[in-house]
Symmetry: C2
Subunit: 346 residues, 2 copies
């Protein structure tokens, strides 16, 4: 027996009137605030039921037992999360967006892949309303765990299975990895470089394979001896650079799939007395603060807005959770742009 | 009607026998595993009740609605947590210990003090079994929030109120800050230094005030012009060093209350062409990996085992939660030792 004209949603004022309490009291009840006597709480909740009042974000916490918390799950051991600034930047963006919506960020840490069972139990326990998951590897059990738990989730980085038909609906946020890589390699080509090597990331992550595809878009017939792999860390970039120089001492440019590996490569080039960019031009990826500008010479790189991607992930998730929102029905995936930043290394 | 002799605890085998299921099935049920049909689950849980089976850690999760998760709350903005290696080391220790006990680490991030209300709601929601809280400041509302939520908690660093009588019972883990500071300053005295300055930490944290007390233990009549304050960051250490040099150009030694501030001080000493340790000897505190050994010259410092403190905090909490444990009744506080590590800076 709604008291409104058809088509209009019942208001908090209507709830208050039906319950015979002030608007302030009704508001306190639906917002979960303390200090309201139980009989009044009961009256307000009865009015909510009878009117079919659709509560706003905060109200739903009370009425539908929302927790007001969102889990962040990074499929990497804790030690990488704290040593790679990529993760802290992404978390910073998520934290800002969740805080702006009064939602608690719950970072679930794990030591290794053996700990996913525990994550599964926590998710199944209903302790969060949704999840943000990133840095997936192809064989990670995480997506299956998340699907089974029924936790609404937005992914950071394109999940590998999204190339399969029928799975396109999974929401994710990613940078234009392939386009960025293409721009990096095209820039080196335009500088007149002819033997452009690539230090790729781990082959079980789409950010690596997409960037490798971008490299190949420009260098269709690149010699395989010009391509090697690292693990997105400084040391692995140094190791990869040594391999490349041993194999192809004639190389005149390197595109590294992230700035950490580029800085490791730079260290090796310096050790061997090879001038950058004179003899070898170097381009990274990420434009990571406290890395790209601080190397000597500073890195030419492909900028992606990592913090912004974190914010976007959180925003897509919150929209999906908030069924009132017009955008709620299909939280689309978002590909954010990348741009070339020219510094001294190329 | 227990089926054991008095004094012995009912075993899982007894539960299985009474329920008429295999031990493996009983184990799966009490460990919350999937794949057991509901009638069997019911039988096992009935047997648990009837026998008064005291489940082990994992089993209690099911039977007493434990969540199997522990919150870590750091009373600092997210940006500091990811930039100060102290926090990642402490979290690493906690993570290892919790993982060893199949307990999920839930890191609750906050942007600022205004976010404590949300933390309070999350704790009150029963989403964790206990909490580890560190880097408290004197006016933080966190301890009151924790107390009201009834969440068993172990603190990292001595809470400021523990000097008040009646509050001694609160469990915490801390380094011997005062003793370590005393050793640092005594070492500088023994080197023949006569005008030893101190860069203290923020005055609203006991780690700062305890270290300042240790400095004063040795230099009872230290001139106040030799003492200044930073905020435990590199930049604040640089600023403090400039202040000290402007005020007391005659100083011949500096004890900085942490390695980050010592590295900032070192930068300023180098900028001004003051030789270390020739003209000014410098001692830090923490022996932080990736800092103390990497400065030029490397830092003489006071080592504390930050990762070990994290492990200890987790261990004390888990013991307190596990009421079977002999040590459970009074999880005492623990003060871990500090040691002087001699390197080139003093």
């Amino acid at each position: 027996m709604p008291e409104q004209s058809p088509g209009s949603r019942p208001t908090l004022e209507a709830v208050a009137a039906r319950a015979g309490v002030s608007r302030a009291t009704a508001s306190r009840v639906v917002n979960g605030g303390a200090g309201v006597r139980q009989p009044l709480v009961d009256k307000v909740l009865r009015a909510v039921d009878e009117l079919g009042y659709v509560p706003n974000h905060a109200a739903r916490t009370l009425v539908t037992r929302r927790t007001g918390a969102v889990a962040v799950i990074i499929a990497e051991p804790e030690i990488r999360i704290f040593s790679d600034p990529f993760f802290s930047q992404q978390i910073r963006g998520i934290s800002k967006e969740l805080t702006a919506h009064d939602t608690q960020l719950v970072l679930l840490l794990l030591e290794g892949p053996g700990d996913f069972g525990r994550i599964a139990r926590y998710l199944a326990g209903g302790h969060v309303d949704g999840a943000l998951a990133f840095s997936l590897h192809i064989d990670d059990p995480l997506p299956a765990i998340i699907r089974r738990s029924g936790t609404p989730t937005v992914y950071g980085g394109r999940p590998s299975w999204t190339s399969a038909p029928g799975d396109q609906g999974v929401p994710y946020v990613d940078a234009d990895n392939r386009g960025g890589a293409r721009a990096a390699v095209q820039y080196l080509r335009d500088l007149g470089r002819e033997r452009i090597a690539h230090i790729a990331g781990p082959p079980d992550q789409t950010s690596s394979t997409d960037r490798l595809d971008g490299y190949r878009d420009v260098l269709l017939d690149a010699d395989p001896s010009l391509i090697t792999e690292g693990e997105f860390t400084v040391d692995s970039g140094a190791r990869a650079m040594r391999e490349l120089l041993d194999r192809r001492p004639d190389l005149d440019a390197v595109f590294a799939a992230n700035d950490l590996m580029a800085s490791g490569a730079l260290r090796v080039l310096r050790e061997r007395g090879i001038s950058v960019p004179g003899e070898v031009a170097l381009v990274g990826f990420d434009d990571m603060e406290s890395i790209a500008e601080d190397t000597d010479p500073p890195l030419t790189t492909i900028r992606q807005d990592v913090e912004g991607q974190g914010r976007l992930m959180a925003r897509l998730l919150l929209r999906g959770l908030d069924k009132d929102s017009a955008e709620a029905r299909s939280p689309a995936s978002v590909i954010t742009p990348t741009t070339l930043v020219r510094r001294a290394s190329a």
